[in-house]
Symmetry: C2
Subunit: 353 residues, 2 copies
Amino acid sequence: MNPRLQCLRNKLKAQNIEGMIISNPVNIKYLIGIEAEGILLLTRKENIYITDSRYIEMVQSTLTITDEIIVNDVKNITGEDYQNFFCFCENVGFEEDYVTYSKYKEYMHKYRINNLMETEQIIEKQRTIKDKEEIDNVRKACEITDKCFKYLLDFIKIGMTEKEIAYEIQRYFIANGASGLAFDSIVASGVNSSMPHAVPTDKIIENGDIITLDFGCKYNGYCSDMTRTIFVGYVKEEIKEIYNLVLKNQKQTLEEMYDGANTKILFKMVENDFKIHKHELPHALGHGVGLDVHEEPSIGLRKENILREHMIVTDEPGIYIPGKFGVRIEDTVLITKSGCEPLTKSYKGYIII
Amino acid sequence: MNPRLQCLRNKLKAQNIEGMIISNPVNIKYLIGIEAEGILLLTRKENIYITDSRYIEMVQSTLTITDEIIVNDVKNITGEDYQNFFCFCENVGFEEDYVTYSKYKEYMHKYRINNLMETEQIIEKQRTIKDKEEIDNVRKACEITDKCFKYLLDFIKIGMTEKEIAYEIQRYFIANGASGLAFDSIVASGVNSSMPHAVPTDKIIENGDIITLDFGCKYNGYCSDMTRTIFVGYVKEEIKEIYNLVLKNQKQTLEEMYDGANTKILFKMVENDFKIHKHELPHALGHGVGLDVHEEPSIGLRKENILREHMIVTDEPGIYIPGKFGVRIEDTVLITKSGCEPLTKSYKGYIII
């Protein structure tokens, strides 16, 4: 059987869950490599993927016999079939963070399930540990992102708008092997950089501007995520202290990222150092990266997670001075047994264009 | 009070629902014009919008006193506050088609609600009838789309790829007043046109190709949606019969769209005519268009809806010959008292480039 599916089945079995209804398309892509509209059912004995006529041909040509997945056209499934899928299962899992309340009720009736159980992100947790193929894909997305950054340093000129630069990032990615953006790029110049979630505007790049570039692409479905803060013409004195503080903490965090590291402690270390210098860290220090650009684990205060070998996460401290400017520096990072490897490798010292 | 909110309150009252938790961002944008992360609570006496520090300033500068909406920063709301919001409400509504099962459970506990009630798309139904401002926005999005089509007829050349054309559509929209795409454009040439949901590929446009262009933009948040099927060099004989059949039905449907028309009958009429000619209509004949590019009402077999004055819907019959080609022709259409007005006005006869 497909090894990711086998791994999930083992985890379900350990929790006494005999079947599962999987409907989140990202989880389905992760488990069986299929991007279509459909639903994946793990019944007691079988793995069943139900889709419609638009996708049947593509799905059947993608899956192999070793996947052990039965493909069905939704139009051939009767009401009775639905009721039989889980008829010997006491507990059937579902994705309570994805499935709407309406769908939950629909599942209850359609499948006649005794106990439709919450699975507490069982698949999302499995997705945190990347296999070789996944790491290679994120690595490639990060390489394209580094090249794009290098390209942008030549491309960006005084007089361009933030929107033009954001647009060029997308064009570059598509022209250079990525399938598209991992998320809407942030290009925030001058005072706009003081907002962590700035949207590119018609503001023109001026001499003396600080520019926050937060961007990433997708490669085979896998994301990259990098932020660099650069300068136009010269670096204003008032920014230097903050830039240095952010960079120091970004690098120190890399030193502390290894198999076994506690994410809450990572966050606290940066937060404390910022506080000592009378600043705040107003967002998480990082997040998992994979098929989703924001996935488990989160590196913040809300939940304590332990970093594990082959997790991929970001390291992105930032300081924002309202009405003035902001600095954020971010890498996508692979956790290894003894430490970590930044997959985005662009220069992090002062860059003046 | 803001008239859209007042209208919703009247509808809720008629159903004996005394409060509502609104979390779908599109519904919030519709009701109070705010695009942020937050939640809108209609309590017995008050309208309360809860957001966070990133958005507070923007929200307060957008809303006016006549909106009668109290804005709160989430960090100032205590657990007790949440329990008090609905303390005199017996029945409180929520959006069961948007809220996940996890969130549903969280609401139950957080707000201590006696009866958290499904509202059966009460806001989505209200959204089907557009007011003047909404119609103007869709009209403008359709105008930009028509202009883009005219531009494309000059732009598209033999040797370009489908992806390049799709990319140019996006560039044109952003450069010409739209805020972006309403949906990922479909540019499907030659045999690719036989798939209703084709994704642009690296296939090169060749002499003799048929090209399906299905695209639309956003203006002030409102969408347009248009499809035209055009020809490169000449029209293959085998296509003509099908093109004429699709176009005849697209035009006949426009004749039958008016206040009071039954959507199931509209669908059946086209389906029957296709069947007589040994073809199928494998998707809905149309759908509502507004803040979402696909919204209520659907014009298909699954549900019977009645068209009403000031609804905006699409009319998009299509025939697809597997492994050969496909033809779809689509307009965005405003329903009027006596008939309808197509808001996309591009030529629908044979266009050869």
